[in-house]
Every structure is written in structure tokens, then in C-alpha cells.
Symmetry: D2
Subunit: 333 residues, 4 copies
Amino acid sequence: MQFSSDNAAPVHPQVWEAMRAADAVDVSYDGDALSRRLDRAFSDLFGIECAVLWTSTGTAANCVALATLVPPYGGIVCHDDAHINQDEAGAPEFFTHGAKLMQAHGPDAKLTPENVAAVIDPICNDVHRVQPTAIAITQATEQGCVYTPDELASLTDYTRGKGLSIHMDGARFANAVASLDCAPAMAGPAHGIDTLSFGCIKNGAMGAEAVVFFDPSRAAEARRRHKRAGQLQSKGRYLAAQLLAMLEGDLWLANARAANAAARLIAAAVPDRLVHPCQANEVFVRLSAPECEALRRQGFSFHDWGPDLARFVTAWNTGEDQASALASALARL
Amino acid sequence: MQFSSDNAAPVHPQVWEAMRAADAVDVSYDGDALSRRLDRAFSDLFGIECAVLWTSTGTAANCVALATLVPPYGGIVCHDDAHINQDEAGAPEFFTHGAKLMQAHGPDAKLTPENVAAVIDPICNDVHRVQPTAIAITQATEQGCVYTPDELASLTDYTRGKGLSIHMDGARFANAVASLDCAPAMAGPAHGIDTLSFGCIKNGAMGAEAVVFFDPSRAAEARRRHKRAGQLQSKGRYLAAQLLAMLEGDLWLANARAANAAARLIAAAVPDRLVHPCQANEVFVRLSAPECEALRRQGFSFHDWGPDLARFVTAWNTGEDQASALASALARL
Amino acid sequence: MQFSSDNAAPVHPQVWEAMRAADAVDVSYDGDALSRRLDRAFSDLFGIECAVLWTSTGTAANCVALATLVPPYGGIVCHDDAHINQDEAGAPEFFTHGAKLMQAHGPDAKLTPENVAAVIDPICNDVHRVQPTAIAITQATEQGCVYTPDELASLTDYTRGKGLSIHMDGARFANAVASLDCAPAMAGPAHGIDTLSFGCIKNGAMGAEAVVFFDPSRAAEARRRHKRAGQLQSKGRYLAAQLLAMLEGDLWLANARAANAAARLIAAAVPDRLVHPCQANEVFVRLSAPECEALRRQGFSFHDWGPDLARFVTAWNTGEDQASALASALARL
Amino acid sequence: MQFSSDNAAPVHPQVWEAMRAADAVDVSYDGDALSRRLDRAFSDLFGIECAVLWTSTGTAANCVALATLVPPYGGIVCHDDAHINQDEAGAPEFFTHGAKLMQAHGPDAKLTPENVAAVIDPICNDVHRVQPTAIAITQATEQGCVYTPDELASLTDYTRGKGLSIHMDGARFANAVASLDCAPAMAGPAHGIDTLSFGCIKNGAMGAEAVVFFDPSRAAEARRRHKRAGQLQSKGRYLAAQLLAMLEGDLWLANARAANAAARLIAAAVPDRLVHPCQANEVFVRLSAPECEALRRQGFSFHDWGPDLARFVTAWNTGEDQASALASALARL
């Protein structure tokens, strides 16, 4: 029973269908009818005009976006635990040509006006210091927590007041929206963010994420950076098909709801062991090494997440039976 | 009838099957059993130990390879018409952090010892000049021509004698091997090239190319560059599945043979109008603008390739009927 | 007798004096009173409001300027013989993060509307091709020739019409102005160029060039790139002192006139052997290897500049006696 | 009375003399006899064969060195307060093409095996994380403290054991050696560091630092990066002259001793207000805003260094009278 990563989940049947249907499309790169529908589809989803590119990874989505927001001599404030800081092997530095990640600290991997201020206030505006240019928020966070619309409003108001751009890493944006049960825009776009990585791969797609530019005029530059990064797939129609399939009938939300429900079921079994509130599809549980071993002997796959800490991730295909089995096993410890 | 690009072709049914089967694999990134079979599969194919990474585009394959061969302060000799020089939007410069492409000139988009020498001989070895570090050969070339094993032996002997590394852009390597009807290694790897982009996308895959390192010790660095470039897909098993499907039962060769045969059929109709010998799956035909228009009115899709020049590309799925129809239409002009 | 390079010349006594006087200035970096006078001094020189940074080399001057004009995914059209293309070891690619130099060809190392058009017209505006973003002109050129105001007007009109920015490498700008005997602005700035490297080192300074931004709003970004490139010297007052000394009483022009006069004297001795018209302080002379050897035996230092070609460079300190001696020796051959 | 920066000090008379003498040298770039003496001079100084390049700034010295030690996908562990992290505007990221600075924390701006371990131990060796490749030590530190030979031995043993390279930023290396009163090598080079920025500008030179490679085979690559960064001055002989003048008769040590003595004199006046031990030429003093104002009214120039903290820097030319005057003024507060 697989709880190590939502990346381990298979492709959703509706996504497969849409991809197969794209066999009939015979236009290369992103000139095809499917790719051309993306701007409209996401503009409708959010009620904000936007321009959209597909990418093959979340890293590429984040980094194409960041490179359009931040010059090589700029800084990006992010939480120390942010995926862009910890898990992308320096990709933001590569795509931006050396912008500096500036780490904020705080619970639940969340940025706040206070912890951002703690980073940027000491930076005097002279030519010797890298100047902060943008912040990057992860929704849901790397610790499975969700920014509420109020938290976002407060953070983005503060940030824009400081003249910084805002990127949202939404590798698990669907899980955040499902958790908040709000209009999709309220989980990010409505608060004046500049760019969003709209994650699909962890949520049932195969190899397509959407990078969304809420100032569509930025897309022209982004398209050049995207091509230059080897991201412009010649059969892009198959990526567009995945994204459209995810949006179609709100499959993205249904999948995220299923994953979240499974996570809640697990979390409910061990309320006292939770390190972070379970607000999306990840459960961080205090577990000793012998306890971890015991669970693994019972067939549960998951990642250690530091000493005496385990991470369980659910996905669109995590069966209630699997989640219940894990919940019971945890409760028995 | 689609002759504009082999990228416009659909995914081959056997590739689809292999991808669907990968749904059962539940390991992320490139740790899965399919990805781990690639080194062996390609080592066997070429009879040379090699290490292999999948990428989502040929551009990424070329550029990950080049970045491991060439330092930022180095130069890459390529034909002026090379895809890396003309069609990758500066991706080689991006991945290598600014290496300089040095253009050689000659017929059929081929490098020769002579035209490489014309580029590198005038470059004195001082600190003011970018020094050539590698050459990049395209097999088959951007003008649909194929290097013979003898041509390769002569070019690579010369190149290694000059201390340069050798990359081969094999976006249409399959078409070259099919055309030469030789052991796969003889079309490149056996001649001491360092890296090969083994193209699959134009030849029936969906979004997976292989980048092959004939010095496997280079792969460790390449993996970091690959990740850092946003190329490490979290569901990489679906890319590995595509590559393995292409190798399985030599599907790659069968597909290329079909495409080449269709191209030969077309070329045979207009021997006097050919600008380059037709040795792979591209046919470059001297056609006036009115002639082009006449063909398009008959339903043929293709690209203009300069004034009075048209390019017709065939693919694994180009039916003999389609090729014959085009051949007849051309003959009638 | 030294004719190998104007870089071999010593520092002019007035420059030494000004530097010594800067010992009394005790402010670091570029906050000192001398550095702060530069904008005014150059604005007055050209009659155009501009912002000025000092750099330690012409390469840095060119590349800081180019990096503000050209994005990493852009192209720079320059003559194949341009210093930025041939002699800066890839510095433009480094500072711009990989912009592509696009080589034009033509006599006297000059760009013209025609040879620029030959480079840019075939580049279709799609995402696969690097798009030209700027041109770089050298005044005087690498072959010792000078653009007339008319030539500049025609070239810059054409270039701006194409939407490209314009950088002028003026490593020998003084020699060009002296040669044209025109208002300084007419040799470049008056024609709507964006940036100018105003060379002083070859012309009597020690280690200071000026990079001039005719849109002063660009300077803020340039200052960050300049610092980031390790160009912001902590004792910048000594660089500012050099530049101000060069401008003071038009020392820059007097020095250039002396150098040009010496070059003309040499050129006049061998009118039939000249490969380019002698319009500045360089003389390119057809000489066989034995002839070169003969000259060297007589104590003349100079560089070979290809087969049967020698380059003689004069400087502010080239005595008339030295020039005459060389002229006679050449005439005797 | 100037205590704001040692960069505010003038050029030492012996340095001026040496520079003037270089007028007689007429070879460009670094081919001159002075530049060619540097390897020998520093090898003799340290008793270790090394190769040396001059640069125009400490930033360039640090960054040319780091770029030869650290690949774009590597990490550099440094103290959070390190100049490369705080005051070089992202130059290390620029020169290395995006390597990641990893900040350690600890008193006196010193790295220790413990605080380096706290940074690197949590970094698992997988492809998702930037891997630490080097550490950068500042001697003397940004807080005016000096690593003892024992501290260095322990730190460098640990570091090499982890397979990391070692760079030393010696902007105030002279002050450290003067403070330790040890053989120059014992303050750094003898402990197996790879590269050293040997600072001269703060210590009496005008615009020349030495970057020292203790593995001379690294210099070839460094020379290319140096040129490519616009650091190869055409009249490099004037930089070599400065460096040789500093070494001549141990001027570097005499100057540093003078600066250190002045600092000690100041520090002795306010032992209870010192934030760090005064071991070089910087004194960090707890002072309230009104106290700072009072001092400034008395004609003392210095920088605030955070709330209720002032930094006083002495230089080779700080007279004992000036230092005494400041000491008295401080004591009177």
C-alpha cells in the first residue's frame, strides 16, 4: 500500500482517454487546437484573463514563472522548506541565472507578513545587497497545510506593498482548493498573484503541469524561456489534452477531494501524533523507527521525514480501504 | 495529407500499450524498474556500455549532453543549419551557460574535417578567444542526408585528434540507421562519439528521447543538470516505457524504414528537383510558389523551406497511398 | 619601437597627476565626488543627458552595456571581426547569460543596413529562433576604419526601424572623433545609440573606461550588473580621476590626434600595401614573412594579423621620429 | 577622522612608486615581466607552489576562485555574515552560474566543524538537493576576528574529510597574519585550502587583489573565467606592480600591523562595549544612537552596523593620534 508519494499514482482513465484522442491532432509544438484552448479554459476557471503554458514538470513550471518575474540580480523570498529551495536541485538559480533564494522560517511551511519582513527588512537598498524581487508561496504547503483566503489576502497585500511580485507553487493547488472548498480563484489568483504553477501530475495527469500568467503580456517572454529550457515538446497536444481532461467536469477537484478525504481518515486515527494540521493530502506523523518498521512490515510504503517523523501521502486513487487499513495500523501502534 | 513534420504523427500503438502498462509501476522519478532497464537496453543495442537518461524533448537531450561536454567558456562547432544553432532558441547557450556555437558551412548540412578545420584552424590558443571544445553532428542531417560510416570515421578521427568531444544529435538517428542498413553502432556510437541524442518522438513516441553517455561516468553530472533543468519528470516511468517500447522488437527501425520508404517514393517522382539526396525521411524539392499553392489546394500539408523550396517529411504512419498521391501530384507539376 | 598595441603605451602624465590627487578623497566605491561628476561631464561632452559608470576594462564596459540591452534569449548582430565576437573570450555570452552573437560580413569591419539585413531578414519571428535584439557597432572599427556621420545615420535609422537597440564599442572612439574632426556626439551618440563604451585605456589612461547610458534610467540596472560582475572597485575614485583627466582640456582628443597623425605618417609610406584605409591609429599592411622579419630585426615590434598581413598600432606617445623611422623602413622594403 | 572603511584609505607611497615604474613596461594584458613574477613571489611567500592572477576587486578574486571550485549545480557553505553572501550582490551566483550559498551560523562570523555540519548533514545525497561542494572561510572574518591555526586545522581537516573544497576570502588576510604573528602560510595556505583571495586594496594598494591557486593546474581554467568576466586588464602591469610592491619588504605586513595597532588602541578604551574580540583592524562597539551622534559631531566618520552598534575600521594610514582621539572620545561617553 503506497503512501510514499502522490507521484507514484497512476494516470487517471479520463486523462488516458483525452491523450488517446489527441492522436487525431496533427499539429506540432503548441500550435494545436488543444494547446490553444488553454488560455480560455483557465481564464474561465479563475474568472481572470490569463495565459497558460504547459510544462513537463512542476520544477519547470515554477522556474519558467520565476525567471519571468525575477532578474538574475534579484532575490526570491520563500519558506526554508519550499520545494524550490530544497528539492529542485538549484533549478530556480538555473532558470533565473542566479537569483538568490532568501529563506523565511515559520510553522507549517507558511510565509507570513512577519516572517517575510524578518527577511527583507534588514536588507538595505544599496547595490551591494541582492534586493528581494518576489516571494514564492506554496499552496498547499510542503507540510500539507493550506493558506486561507484571509491569510493570502494579508500576505499578498503586504507583499505588493513592498513592491514584490508573487509566485504560487501550486503543485497541490487542487488539494488546497478542495480543502478550502472555495472558488478556485480564492485560493490564490484572486489575491493578485502574478504566476501560478497549477499542478496536475500528482493529481492524475501523466506529465503536464500548467504555468499560469495572470498578466498575459508576460507570456511572450515566458514562451521564449520555455522553449530555451527544452520544455516546448513537439507533441505538446498530448500535454494540453491532459490539462483539459483535468479541468473537464472538474476532475481536478474530484481527484483532490478523494485524496484529501483519505488523508483526513488517516490523520483522524492519530490526532496526538500529528506534527502539522492535516489540511490537504499529506499526513506528518510522529513515529519512532521501530514503529515505522512495524508499519512497513505490514506492507505500508512511506517516506521517513526526519528523525521520528514519517510522511504519508494520499493520491486520487488511494482507496478508502487502504486509508482505513493505514489508519487502523497507526491507531494500533 | 500531412507532410509538414514527423512531429505531427501520432503515437504508435505499441508505445501506447507500454505506457498504459506503466500504470502498474508505482515508483517516482527515475527510480522505477523501467527507467533502470534503460542502461542495459541501450548498451545491448550498441554493444557499448553506456548510461541513459530520458528527456521530454530533443532540445533537452542535446543540451544536457552538450552541457556535460562543454564548459561555459568553450565552443561547439556545428553546421550552420544545425538544429542546435537554428531551432532551439538558444537552449545550448542556456544549458552550457554561454558556450559559443561556431558555424561550419558545407553541403547537405554535413560537417567534414575540412569545414571543421576552416572554423577551428584560425582560432589561436590564447585566452582572448573562445576555444572549440566539441563538435555536434546531426545524424541524419537537417537536410535529410546521412553520414556514412566512412564519413563518420574520418570526421571523428580528425575531431578526436584535435582534442574535441563529439556529440551526435540523433533526432532522426533511426532514419539514418535504416538508411545505412548497418549495425546501429556504425551510424555513430562505434566511432567514438561521447554522447548521442537518440530520438524517438518523431519516430512514434509521445514525449521521450534518450540521451546516451558512452562514458557512463558522465551520467552522474548529467543527472544533476537534467534535474536542475526541470527535466526529471516525477512519473518518469511513462517515458522509460516509451523508450523500451521503441527498442522492443526493433520498432524504432521498423518505423524509420516505413518513413524512409515513403520519402524515397516521393523523391523518386522528382529526381531533378531534389536539392539534397533523399537519404532519410525528408525530401527537399525545388518548387515555385504557384506550384506549392497548387499542391496545398490538393490537400498536401508541408513547409516552405526558403524561396522556391519546399520540405516534405514522412513519418512512421505515412501510408504508401499518401506518399504515392504526393509523388503523383509532384510528377504532374 | 613599439607598434604592437596601444595598450602597451604608458599612462599619460596628466592622468597620473589626477590619480595622485585622488589620494585626498576618502569615500569608497562610487560615492565619491569624482565619480559623481561623471554623469555631468559626459552629458556636457555630448550635449545629451546620460549616466556613466567606470569599468576596469573595455570588455566589462561592452558587456555591462549589452547585458542591459539584450535578454538572455536575444541576439546581438555584430561584424564577424568585432572585438566582442573575436577577442572577449565569450564575455558577452557570460554577462548576458547566453545571448547569441550573430555575425555580419563586410569590408572594413563595418556594419551596414545591407549586411545587417542579410543576418536578420532570414530569421522568422517564431519561438524556435533566437531573435535579434541589438546591434553592436565598433567606432573606430577593428580594421582601423571610421563610420562617417552619414553612415551612422543610415545604419541607426535602419536599426531602430527594425526595433533593435544599438551599442557602440568605442574602445577607440577618441580616434574616430579625431579622424572625423566632428562634434563628439556626431561620431555616435547623436544618432540615437543606446550605450557607448568610451575607451580611455588605449588612449592614455591606466585602467578606466566609461560606459555611457543615453537613457539614464537604464543605469540603475547596470549598476547592479556592474557590482555583480566584480567591477565596482572600492577605490573607484582613482578610476573617476582617470576619466575626468582624459576629458579635462580635451586630453582625450589631443592624445587621439597624436596617435592618428603617427598612423597616417606610416600609412602614407605604403599606400599600395594598405589593406584598409587608415582612418584612425591602426595600419594594416600587406607584408611577407621575410619582410616582417626584416622589420623586427630593425627593432620594430608589431603583430602579425594573418598570412602576409601585419598590424601597426600607434598610441598617444608614439613619437614622430618613431613613426618616421617605421615609415622609412616600410618604404625601403 | 575617517573610520568608516579601510577602502577609504589612500594608496601607499611605495605602491605609487611601483606603479609609476611600470610605465616603462610595454607589454599588454598579463604577458609582462611584472605579472610573470607573481607566481614565484607568492610561492616563496607561502612556501607552497601556487599560481596567481590579479583582479581589480575582492569580489572578482573570490568569484573567479569559487567558479573554478564549484559547478553551477553545487553549493558553497559560508557564514551567514560572509561578504560573498551579504555584500557582493550575487556575484558568486553570477560567476558560478547559479551555485547555491548555504549559510552557517555562529559567533564571530566563523565557520566551525559543528556549524558546517549543521548545514551539510541534513542534505541527503540525492539528485533533488544541491550538494555542498566547497566552503568559504573569511580570514579575518567580517566581524574582525581571526581563525587561529588550530581552528583552521580542525575546520579544514573536517572539510576535506567531507570531500569539500576550501576557499579563503582574505580581503584582510594581512591583518590576520599580523594578528597571529605567524608564518603567512599558517594563517591559511598551510592547511590545505584550495584558493585564497589575498587582499591588498584595503591595505594600501589601489585596485589590485591577488587570487592564489594552490593547485596551479587550476589556473588555466581560472584565466579563461577571468578574461570572460572582463577582469583581464590590458595594462595589467600596473596591477602586478601594486601586488609586488605590497610584498616587497613585507609592506603588506607592516601596513596591517599599523592598522591592527590602531584598532587595538581603540578597542582597549571600551572593553565592555565590544561585541566581538578585536583581533584585526575592525572594532565593533555597542553605542546608542545619541552616542553615535555625539561622536560624529566630534568629527569621527564610521558606519552604523545595526541597532546600537557601530563599526570602526582602521587602515594602514590611521595615525596613532587619530586612534587615540577616538579612544578618548569613546572612553568619555
